[in-house]
Structure formats: C-alpha cells, structure tokens
Amino acid sequence: MAEPVAKIRHLTKRMGNREIVKDLNFDIHKGEILGFLGPNGAGKTTTMRMMVGLMSISEGDIKINGKSVRRHKEAALKKVGGMIENPEMYQFLSGFDNLVHFQSMMGPVNKQRIKEVTKLVGLEGAIKNKVKTYSLGMRQRLGIAQALLHSPDLLILDEPTNGLDPSGIREIRDYLRRLAREEDIAVFVSSHLLSEVELLCDRIIIIQNGVITDVENVRQDNSEDETITMALRVVPQDKAIGILNDLNIAARAEDGRLFVNIAYKQIPKLNQKLVEHQLDIYAIEPLKQSLEERFLAKTGGGQL
C-alpha cells in the first residue's frame, strides 16, 4: 500500500488536567473517504483542530506528507484544506471575495482555480452575491470550495452535513465522492450521525470519550469462504425448507422470508437447486447487517 497522506500517532490533547483526546493512532490514505464517528463531545473537533494547526498538540504527532505538524506546521499544512465546525465566512464579502481572501493567504490569486472550485461545488450562480444572502447549504459548499482552493492532498471536514436537509447531504456526498475518486485526495470527515458516515465513507473510525474504540471497513468485498446471511422469498416455503435441509443448510422462517447462513460461494448452487425444483423465486438477497447493528453489538447497545 502506498504511503499514507496522514499519519496520526499517539495524538493526545490535554486541557487543564483533562485529557480530551487520548493516544489516537490512525492513517489516512489517498483516494479514501475516512469517517470520524462519535457522539457530541467525543473529541472529533479537537482532533481536527490539532490536525489543521489551530490547537497545540499535547503529546504525539501528526505527519502530513511526511512533515510534522508539531515541528514544521507551515510545511505540513501546505497541502491541507479544512473546514472546522460551522462554515463561518465574511458575511459582508461576496463568495468570490471570500475565496480571493483565502487564496491570497497562500499564494497569488488564481481566478481560474476559483472558477474551478466554484463550479465543483455548484455555486456559479451565487458566487458574486454577499455571503449574508446564502443559505446554510450554500455556506457549507463555499466552505468546501475554500478548502479546495490550493488543491490539497488532505481535506478535513468537521460535520460538513450538519444542519443540511437530505438533498443537501446527498449533494455534499456526491462532491466528496468525486473528489476522492477523481482527484485522488484523502478526505477525513467527522459526523455524529452513523447513517450519514455509513453512506459516505469507505472506512470509519469510531471515537468515544477521546479514545478510538473501533475501526470499520464499510465497503467490504465478501470473500469466497465467508459465511453470510441470505434472505429468500420463495413459494412454497415448506418445500424450500425441505430442499435446504437436504443440502444441510439450516433455515429459519420469519415474516414470510427464509433466512439462511451459507458460504458466499454456495449461493449459485442454492439458486440452482431451487430452480431445479421449480419453486417460484421472488428474491435472494444478502441480509446486510448495518454498521449500526454491528456497532451496537460491539458496544453492547451503548448510546451513540
């Protein structure tokens, strides 16, 4: 695997005598969308603040493209774009002037690039208007545009979908997907909503009380030998149970469906048998255990 864009090692933040974030260790890779999931107050924002140089690091370090945020902040942050908490922009400036402002902090103004990012987040129509006329969704998008100005390798977004309606969330999701795939950048997104991260991310880190409690792959490819649960909608059901029993597959009927635990590679065979016996097959589908179920199983039903 290629060298990660960001390496977080033993990252700790103390405030007073309280440890807000404790010994975090993880990597962020090119082209991936990494979710950072945890309840309010878990330490997501604090972690991200340290990653973009807004807060000092109490212990440990963050390396971005091999450069230490702790020791060479300016060099490490060269290729980092971010938005922490709310997308607060200068209300009295136009969206365009806001972008000019932040771009010129990093290098000469490049109108072409401003156009590109404006288009990417779909703000072409409103970019000359004052930010105070923008809706929350437009501000979020301007926030993302601002973070993309200098073509970062790592994009850090703190709850970018907070306060958005479902269609707004969908839009943001689409941009981020496209960014990760097409521009091959690493995206690190936090959220306190499981459903949201699950839809958006490739991998999820779960943080609770400042500690990483779990790392999950969301898009897992089933390996041949893995056993999965399949739900069958077959008529008549009792005949199907008989056939399954002949195959040594235990089946359980529930809500008009049959649930079976079988090896992934056995699925075509099962299908074949059912067809042979001329059963009416309405559906054979994997019962996807949602992250939520897995998460609840792991934490014993702990509140997220």
Binding site: M89, H101, S104, M105
Partner: protein, 317 residues
C-alpha cells in the same frame, strides 16, 4: 514579502467592504465642512494692510494692559499676543488668517484627534472581530506563520491612518484654496519655544504637527491592538485606549505635580511629541530623544506581547 503585501491587501479589502471606515470618512468630511461654515460665518474678512492692522491691534492691547479694570489673570496672555504681533511686524510675517487656504488647514489640524479616535476603534476590533465572526479558524489554518497575519493587520491599520491624515490635509487645503484663493497666504508659522519666538515655513509646521500626532497614533494603536489581541474583546480595548489617549496628558501632569521620578517613563507621558515643538516637556529630565527611545521600547513590548499570545493560543470555538 509579496505574501505579506497580499495579507495587508486582504485586511484593506475587509475594511473597505464594510461601512465603518466610510462612516468615519463621512464624519471627517462633515467636520471639515462645519469648520468651513463657521469660518465663513464668524471670521471677519482679513485686512488688506496687515501691518497697519497689527499696529492698531497692539495699540488697543496696550491700552487694555494699562486699564485698571483688566483682571491681572488676563495680562500674561495679552502680553504674549503683543509679543507675537510685534514679531510678525519685525520679521514681515503676515498672521495666519483663518479665511486663507493655509489658515484653513491650520484650523482643521485638530481633527487629527478625531482620526486617532477612529483608528483606536479600528485597531481595537481588527483582531477581536475575527474571533466574533468565527473566521479566525479559516485564517489560522493556512500554511503561514501566525505573526505575519497579526503584523499585516497592524500594518493595515497604520496604512489607513496615514491615508486619513493625508486625506484631511489634502481636502482641507483644496477646500481652502477653492473658497479663499491662494493669494494672501502666510508662508511662515510663528510659535513659542521655551519663551522664545521662532518661525518655520507652514509646510514644516504641518509636517511637524502631523508627524508628531502620527507617532502618538502609532503608539496608541499598538496599545489598542495588543489589548484586543489579548482579550479578544474590542469594547475593553476601545475604552482603555480612549481613556489613555484623551486623559493621559491630564493624568501625567497630575502625577508630575508630585514630582515622582517614574512619571517620565510612563507610556502616555511620552506620546505627544508635539510638546517638544510648541510648549514644554511634561516632566523634568525629558527630551525628544528620551521620549523616542521610551516609545520604541513600549512599542516593542506591546507588539511582542500581542505576537507571543497570538502565536501560542489555541483557537477554540
């Protein structure tokens, strides 16, 4: 260097795209207009033969001195006026009548105090407002040193102070020229320096006046800027700076009455360098060089504290 200039340009953009500065410019313009109206209404047309006029003035003032009804308290002032009039006649320097272009500029010099007040307000909010707007996060997550961002803000404040000073001078001179014409211009300014009368060209005078006021402004702006950076609160910075700016000289003269040695080292005892041109030093043992050194030390302290705190501080919420 280019990067730093871009930072200053950013600060200017944020200032020019808001109303605050324009309201200040408007107030300044209104004040100049008011001065003009007052001058037109009240000032008598200045006399054609100024020497003759001054001679009659001296005669009537001497009569006043001789008059028993004139209170003793008024006499030193009248004597001083006679001295000035006599000096003008001897050195062939016409008085600076306020209904002349130069005289009008001289009338409006005092508005530099108004500019100082405006600049205190701007310097007090230029850092704290980024916190209250929440934009400080986006500003400080850039790959550049925080002290550069801070210094660019201060430089922008001083740059705009300079613009306002120039504006005041140019506008009142232009208005003065248009309304009063450029004939009858007094070209020299007469002033008293430690009981001796001297004269300089009016431009030297304006330069000395604005120069010394500008130094004071640089200092009080640095003070306000430091407070605003430390406390992230503009109200406190504005209040403290205004008190020091406008009550500072009273406080220091009260303190120097007690003849304490430390008074001359106080920041606001030294801010008004114009005292070294006209008037007298606020405390014993002070000189122009002394004040400049004290001011430089204070400046470094103010900016140093602001930078160290700004560099170290975690940006939360």
């Amino acid at each position: 260097m280019m990067q730093f200039l871009r930072l200053v340009k950013n600060e200017n953009m944020k200032l020019y795209k808001r109303k605050l500065l324009w309201v200040m410019v408007l107030i300044l313009a209104a004040s100049i207009t008011l001065s003009l109206v007052i001058t037109l209404k009240t000032a008598d047309k200045h006399p054609k033969d100024w020497k003759h006029h001054l001679k009659t003035e001296i005669a009537s003032k001497e009569a006043e001195l001789a008059d028993k009804k004139t209170p003793e308290d008024f006499k030193p002032e009248i004597k001083k006026e006679i001295k000035f009039d006599q000096y003008r006649i001897n050195h062939n320097i016409p008085p600076m009548y306020s209904d002349t272009a130069v005289g009008f500029v001289n009338e409006t010099l005092g508005y530099s105090g108004l500019i100082t007040l405006f600049i205190i307000i701007i310097a007090s909010s230029i850092v704290s407002q980024e916190y209250s707007w929440g934009t400080i996060k986006l500003v400080l997550m850039r790959p550049l040193k925080r002290w550069k961002v801070l210094l660019a803000k201060y430089v922008s404040v001083i740059f705009n102070a300079l613009i306002l000073f120039l504006l005041l001078m140019i506008v009142s001179f232009t208005v003065g020229m248009i309304v009063f014409g450029i004939d009858d211009m007094s070209s020299r300014f007469v002033f008293e320096e430690q009981d001796k009368l001297k004269d300089v060209s009016v431009f030297t005078h304006f330069l000395q006046y604005f120069g010394s006021k500008f130094v004071g402004l640089i200092m009080i702006a640095a003070f306000a800027f430091m407070l605003s950076t430390i406390f992230k609160n503009n109200a406190l910075a504005i209040a403290l700076s205004i008190i020091i700016q406008f009550a500072g000289s009273i406080i220091s003269s009260l303190l120097s009455a007690f003849d304490k040695g430390f008074v001359k080292y106080i920041f606001f005892t030294n801010t008004d360098l114009y005292k070294y041109v006209e008037g007298s030093p606020p405390a014993k043992g002070m000189s122009l060089e002394f004040s400049i050194i004290v001011l430089i030390i204070y400046f470094v302290i103010f900016m140093g504290i602001a930078i160290v705190i700004f560099e170290k501080r975690d940006v939360t919420s």
